[in-house]
């Protein structure tokens, strides 16, 4: 065991229901004793599956779950010192509240007075003293949720798992329960693992947030770290609002996007392609003469405590917040403090695909095959009588050669005609980048293609990715 404080560790955890698609892929996570950890992500990202594996309701396909350093991944739920608060409460309808809460204690063969006392104490913790004899259906949703919590904590588990427990409550009730859960966590000192898709809930309650997407951890950190320094554009886009732009680092250590150079606090080598993220509250609207760049207000929407102002700078759109309404059409300046810009290097592994040349000089990739002029790959080569010759005049046997293909997302386009592009798939992610949308298209073979498009598509749309032949770069590997 690496750390004495670690209560549970997930090591190389993978889960697949159909042996083909991985719901969770090689996931590693350490959780310390007494922490309030939130697994946050959009629906279908695998967060509930992780919780169910910790609880014992699913068996991992690969990997280990170490509780106090011992692998518990194959133990049934009843042998784990872990209790769960279920999304739909899952109270026992044929029992009254006392019997529900005492269920676990009775199984442990505690004597009656001890059970009575513990049930009473658990009801005190959830603020429902004296409810012992009531039936389940006489309770409101919020009360049922409290009973579900009482039923779990009365067993004094090492870890309490909470599977979107507040999802079914109305807004006010949810706010109240968030604070109460946080209080309970402090009072009990039990490790809480909380699953939610509500970023506000995660930011309010957690000591540590694990942002997930697509079965993988995107970032682990405190709420402040996650909000202020998101590790990639997915996290920035998912947590709070964000202006995201493509840009580059300049010679002087500044960052350039929207045709403007900005001072920033992150440093990368000059020329590095980056993605810059700016929170709307860090976009300051100033007089046109004082701005780093100028633009025209295109809309101003009242949001309760502030106005959301959209400013167009050329083709780029900035979202800003302002205390005052600014009429559409007003010329304004935009100013961003250096620490208001968060820069991450552009993911250089995107859109690289490996293919193999077949006997017909076609390159076969997983999703498609393409016939290209192979002289582009072999420097100085030429084709004569359907054979490829090197610059020394010797024929090259191309069959079986591996070739890497890359295309710039900016050069790609999307079409709703499946045969129009080289490959088709479903859109799984959309991120707005000021003047265009950045899409991820996932093919049937689970390969992701990054493409930029000016038009707005929807998640789940079946599209084909069109890449002009000359925009694909081939390298021999």
């Amino acid at each position: 065991m690496k750390d004495k404080d670690t209560i549970i560790e997930l090591r190389g955890l993978s889960k697949s229901y159909d042996k083909e698609t991985m719901v969770i892929e090689n996931l590693n996570l350490e959780i310390k004793k007494g922490e309030f950890v939130t697994l946050l992500g959009p629906s279908g990202c695998g967060k509930t599956t992780i919780l169910r594996m910790i609880g014992g309701f699913e068996t991992p396909t690969a990997g280990e779950i170490l509780l106090h350093g011992e692998d518990i991944s194959t133990l049934p739920p009843n042998k784990r010192p872990i209790n769960t608060v279920f999304q739909k409460y899952a109270l026992f309808p044929s029992m009254n509240i006392y019997a529900n809460i005492a269920f676990g204690l009775k199984l442990k063969k505690l004597d009656k007075t001890a059970i009575d006392e513990k049930v009473k104490h658990a009801l005190e913790i959830v603020d429902l003293e004296g409810f012992e004899k009531r039936g389940i259906s006489t309770l409101s949703g919020g009360q049922q949720q409290r009973i579900a919590i009482a039923r779990a904590i009365v067993n004094e588990p090492d870890i309490l798992l909470l599977d979107e427990p507040l999802g079914a409550l109305d807004y006010k009730m949810r706010k109240e329960m968030q604070l109460e859960l946080k209080e309970m966590h402090k009072e009990l000192g039990i490790t809480f693992i909380f699953v939610t898709h509500d970023q506000e809930e995660a930011l309010t309650m957690s000591d540590k947030i694990v942002v997930m997407a697509d079965g993988k951890i995107q970032q682990v950190g405190t709420p402040e770290e996650i909000y202020d320094t998101p590790s990639n554009i997915f996290v920035a886009d998912f947590i709070g609002e964000s202006n995201i732009f493509n840009g580059t680092m300049t010679e002087s250590g500044k960052v350039k996007f929207c045709d403007t150079e900005f001072e920033c606090v992150d440093f990368y080598p000059p020329g590095t392609k980056i993605e810059a993220m700016v929170r709307p509250e860090n976009v300051h609207i100033v007089k046109p003469s004082k701005g780093m760049l100028t633009g025209k207000v295109s809309s101003s929407i009242f949001k309760g405590i502030y106005y959301e102002i959209l400013v167009m700078h050329g083709k780029n759109e900035f979202t800003a917040q302002s205390q005052k309404e600014i009429a559409a059409g007003t010329e304004v300046g935009i100013s961003i403090e250096p620490d208001g810009i968060h820069v991450v290097p552009y993911n250089i592994h995107k859109n690289h695909y490996t293919g193999v040349v077949d006997d017909d000089m076609r390159i076969r990739f997983v999703d498609f095959s393409i016939k290209i002029d192979l002289t582009r790959v072999f420097a100085g080569s030429y084709i004569k009588d359907g054979e490829l010759y090197g610059k020394n005049g010797v024929a090259i046997n191309t069959e079986g050669k591996k070739i890497d293909a890359y295309f710039d997302p900016e050069r790609a386009d999307l079409s709703d005609v499946p045969d129009e592009g080289i490959v088709a798939g479903h859109i799984i992610s959309i991120i707005y980048k000021g003047d265009h949308y950045s899409y991820i298209v996932r093919s049937r073979n689970e390969i992701d293609y990054y493409a930029d498009d000016d038009w707005l598509w929807n998640i789940g749309d079946y599209v084909s990715v069109i890449i002009p032949e000359e925009s694909i770069e081939y390298t021999l590997i």
Partner: protein
Amino acid sequence: MKFTKSKLSIPYIIYMVIFVVLPLLVVCYYAFTGDDGSFTLDNFKSFLFNSKTMGTLVYSVIIAVVTTLACLILAYPTAYILARGPFRRSDVLLVIFVLPMWINFTLRITALKEILSAIEGNLAFHPFFNSVLGMTYDFMPFMIMPLYSSLSKLDGQVIEAAADLGAKPWQTMLRIVIPMSMPGIISGVTMVFLPAMTNYVVLDMVYNSTFIMGSLIGSYFSSYDWHNGSMISVILLVLIFVISAFSNKLSREQLNRREGAGL
């Protein structure tokens, strides 16, 4: 012409009067009259104070109880596996179990009879076993259906919650699954027990000298003794009425408990 609710009910009322109320009145009339047409309780006296007829009644009840239990014990695990097992098309599997109902039941019982005679030689050696087997075979779908529907409605999270709180699989079964499927058990038991009490065709076919209530009625009627046949029918009617009232009360209590009128 406008169709009001009361007008729409006219055909049903006519149907009920002709096929339910009138026959019942006729049965009651015959049950409480003698050969001369005068009111008498002699029919009942001769039944209740006759050890042979009372024996038939007890035998019928025992057969019905054993049949119901056999159906329940066999159907519960079947329904549980069908409803909660790892099958993708459990509804199709359910149809396979219910499929025998689509075949004429005299045909089914005749087939069973042939199989049993091949195994046992003479059916007279095991009259009780054969009767129970025949009826269990015949009534099984009536038990599986309500059990399946109540088990498949069961919230899987509740079962997981029990395991989560430390219950071993058998404890979860005993304390959570069976109590929660009680409505299904009650309606299944009612649907098997009542026909098992009165059915006599199955027994007649499997072993035709086994006397139970149903065959007693049949034998009286076939010898044109309307009075005694009607009398036994009335006794059975009362018995069934008591049993259904009791099972209704049980299921209502279940419902109340669930609604939690505890305070």
